[in-house]
Symmetry: C2
Subunit: 142 residues, 2 copies
């Protein structure tokens, strides 16, 4: 699987209001994948996620380093925990700042966060609940 | 074509250095599509663009409003100038703040920018040089 972007998370003040905004633009929320606290909308070749700013910041372990970002996290989903470890190591070797070393998550997956040299925040994740196609694309249930 | 994300632009301090970082992570730069001032890298179902923060801010007409963003712009590429106008109107009706009304661009296309209610910056663009597939995905030349 080549390097890719799977998911973009927008950090917002009110998840329901922000979701309604994007639904008005024509994005379709996956009811099966979404919860009150987080919405997932299919957005062509990637998934658009809407989550609270605070939850996003805490999840990234980025309170002290939330400088270059402004509340958008770009994610690369990979096929296994081992792939998460490998990509986090590659990012660190390339000059990334590790925000949160890879670890098991509360949602049953495994992820880590890094900031690129300009401060943009990336999540590297393995999500056992979601299948990836050969290009690393997630297809949400409807 | 459904609502979608085509391209993510990271605003950076040094385009060459940032491009080298992402190449070390395995993203492949399209030599044909890229220039010194901007890199385009295929990233699965979307394109990862790397451009200077200043150029990005100026292009979005967002100097006074660059608050919620931090230098990531999410783009939806559509199939015609008329589709740009329609989507900009839909966004404004849904509560977006228009940063730059749609207009011809210096690169031969047509685009507009809006900020969503949380301040995240979106570009809506028609690029006559790039083909879109039925899901709104751009496939860069190699």
């Amino acid at each position: 699987m080549s390097a890719h972007i799977s998911l973009i998370t927008l950090g917002v003040g009110d998840v329901a209001k922000a979701t309604a905004f994007y639904e008005r633009l024509g994005f379709v929320k996956s009811k099966k994948a979404s919860q009150d606290a987080v919405s997932f909308l299919q957005a062509g070749g990637v998934v658009l996620a809407i989550w609270s700013c605070e939850a996003q910041r805490d999840d990234a372990g980025a309170n002290a380093l939330w400088t270059g970002n402004g509340g958008i996290v770009v994610a690369q989903n990979v096929a296994s925990e081992r792939d998460v470890d490998a990509l986090m190591a590659k990012a660190e070797a390339a000059g990334a700042h590790i925000l949160k070393p890879a670890a098991k998550t509360f949602w049953g997956g495994y992820d880590g966060y890094f900031a690129d040299p300009d401060g943009h925040v990336w999540e590297v994740a393995f999500n056992p609940h979601w299948a990836l196609d050969e290009d690393g694309r997630i297809k949400l249930p409807e």
